[in-house]
Symmetry: C2
Amino acid sequence: MAKLTPRSEDYSKWYNELVIQTGMAENSKVRGCMVIKPYGYAIWEKMQAELDRMFKETGHQNAYFPLFVPKSLFEAEEKNAEGFAKECAVVTHYRLKNDPENKGKLIVDPEAKLEEELVVRPTSEAIIWSTYKNWIQSYRDLPILINQWANVVRWEMRTRLFLRTAEFLWQEGHTAHATKEEAMEEATKMLDVYTRFVENFMAIPVIQGAKTESERFAGAEETFCIEALMQDGKALQAGTSHFLGQNFAKAFDVKFTSNQGKLEYVWATSWGVSTRLIGALIMTHSDDSGLVLPPNLAPIQVVIVPIYKNKEQQNAIFECANKIVDGLQKEGISVKFDDDDKVKPGWKFNEYELKGVPLRIAIGPRDLENRQVELVRRDTLEKSYEKIEGLPMLIKSKLTEIQQNIFQRALDFRNQHITEVSTYEEFKEVLENKGGFVSAYWDGSAETEEKIKDDTKATIRCIPFEEVDLKNKTDFYSGQAAKYKVLFAKAY
Amino acid sequence: MAKLTPRSEDYSKWYNELVIQTGMAENSKVRGCMVIKPYGYAIWEKMQAELDRMFKETGHQNAYFPLFVPKSLFEAEEKNAEGFAKECAVVTHYRLKNDPENKGKLIVDPEAKLEEELVVRPTSEAIIWSTYKNWIQSYRDLPILINQWANVVRWEMRTRLFLRTAEFLWQEGHTAHATKEEAMEEATKMLDVYTRFVENFMAIPVIQGAKTESERFAGAEETFCIEALMQDGKALQAGTSHFLGQNFAKAFDVKFTSNQGKLEYVWATSWGVSTRLIGALIMTHSDDSGLVLPPNLAPIQVVIVPIYKNKEQQNAIFECANKIVDGLQKEGISVKFDDDDKVKPGWKFNEYELKGVPLRIAIGPRDLENRQVELVRRDTLEKSYEKIEGLPMLIKSKLTEIQQNIFQRALDFRNQHITEVSTYEEFKEVLENKGGFVSAYWDGSAETEEKIKDDTKATIRCIPFEEVDLKNKTDFYSGQAAKYKVLFAKAY
């Protein structure tokens, strides 16, 4: 196993090597599409299970809508169409035929051209709202609270494993409401669900806020987001929840009779998180030795490595290890006893460190004599010796401790990397040397936002949800009266 | 709610009405693609959870491969390519642009034509085996036991909800092995997994067997299948498991060094079941009043309907119902207390009958006095009065009984519809009047098989796994010496 490039040397290279070497994902033979390998997919499954539970707990049901969006539906909501038109995979034919000039080869059959082209969904508002039209007549049909687990395709030119791929997996919630207030409440409620999930389950601290107009989802009236900070000082949008107003209802003519008997347009939200979060997970916690996984998401929470020189020792240690396995499983802990005798313990230590297994137990002959095991925490690489008696409860509390510790560590780092500035010089200096979020007053104009972006590549990540006194405050760039206090950063 | 067309009048119409009225699925605006609505999707989720558990129990891991297959990979395994070429959705472009002649409309951007067309996967052998090539060098890398949950697209001309749709959801297992024996064992093991799942979980009896050459999966050496019988006497292929030999290994040049140091081609299997099984579920158990669901798959296992005339009665009945809910939930039973006061009990009875809820509890004032409830079984429509005390255990055993009863009922029906014939006259007579499986000796020739198919639309559903004495037996059609005893049927 090759050593990882240190983060300080080349963060981007470290990231790619880590994803490949841990067996989480790899590039496929399809431009920009990845293969999610079993170790990466196991993490995604754990994320799905928890999110799905949270969605159902908040009253949502799953459903499934078509992969394809007919062009005429796709273009119905103009802003949404404009936003995604440039990165759409388009199906134009429905058949291949033998190439008459090349035996064994196939060509697109020109006679099987579709009357109307089909867009592979980059997001499903269009197909879903054209369906909701038939589901909604009266206020009694509302709200509709539906989520979909699906693959989507956005033809990105520059792609990176998990972070930006042409095809990715996600969930997309699409809800319909009778009133603006109710839709707005849903949008913020789901942002809170995402926040709790990302912080408590993935141990990634986030900042909640609203996007500026230029950063909004195409077709939304408001985009709420949670923003995380990666170790290299770049921000990452970890989830978004959109208040769509009546835009899609108007585009697809979805009206309902209110309880006062009036015909009104329906209010909408949509919200999603994707496999991109796995990229955030990696770049929040991991180190030069490999992945660091929060126990809540680790496919293997504890690994046991036996160390022995002869059959007699092996028998005694295996017996002990199997008892420990039983004890841990009874506590609901996922444990692997690595009894493979074709590789050395040292190789295993590296392997599980690379893969981010939160706790490693090693048992040798002397440990057995002392009725103890060697325990190593992946997050701190701290080693200790622990009595075998009572081990399951100790492990359980260590796992909780690790979950909290890596969150706290990420939170401290994030908080140390929010820097207030009041001049453009300071702003550029912080961006260049320290990185992270830069907190500053903004005049609210798209012009200022764009100039700063062109000049520094930093964008407004969000307008945080917090009361700010704007009296006598001015924009650090334009000098105009401030309308918001915002967070800038370079971002993934 | 409209009444369903009786099955005896028009089976196909009954089926469609049932799917629509229960809210399981509907046709979408995309030709041949369906929307799986929450009630249908909840059943699919239960199927997924159980299958996924069974796959993991047998050592498989999940992963995810790209939606798109580049044409050059798609055509590599010739038979597979030939089998699917005629029903492929093909992506040829990656961008739309504004239509200069039609404001607000979009057209495919001719400048964004892909160098190589992408086929939307109809099945994933090609993309997966082109990936396995890089994963396999030595016998130590084998076996690979991977499953994928995914959507696939096959451009069918005549589609029906769940049974045959252009896009459908499925799982596809793709395994790689060092020896022929091991691959063959895997293929039959997974057929057994499907059999246990479909029989024990979905309560659908099936017959295991092998497909004839003409009915095999394109690219397989052997296709094993489970065949079910629908109420209208037509068969339905409920799952397939393929022994792929070394066909894909050769097409994608996937070799490994054996433990004897020889370079050999890898052996393969693939296996899948899909949302089509939901169609089989409906057509195995349901009746003219609606869906009949096996308790194992029912999103709601028990519904409680209160009957009252005044507030006082309501309070007392709600209190009692809530206690029953608690008691049932403690036993892991999924229960719904329908306290909606805007619809009448009679309407609710019809609704839950239509939706196939296995047990319905009704509680009225007199029941309360007698400390009893009215209990109606969906499978038999039998009504009984049961003491409230001890109700959870009674319900639990009733659910088990219903699960067994509907399986037994379907098994009896299936067994009554396997008819042995020895002449072609008998064969046609049975097909026309009785339907079901027709058991007969076959000479093993594709010619005989095809003539029978052209003449009667019946196909050989499978060659059942059973020892048969073929001595002196002749084909009922050709009079030639028999090679197999097979099951014919008209099929979905």
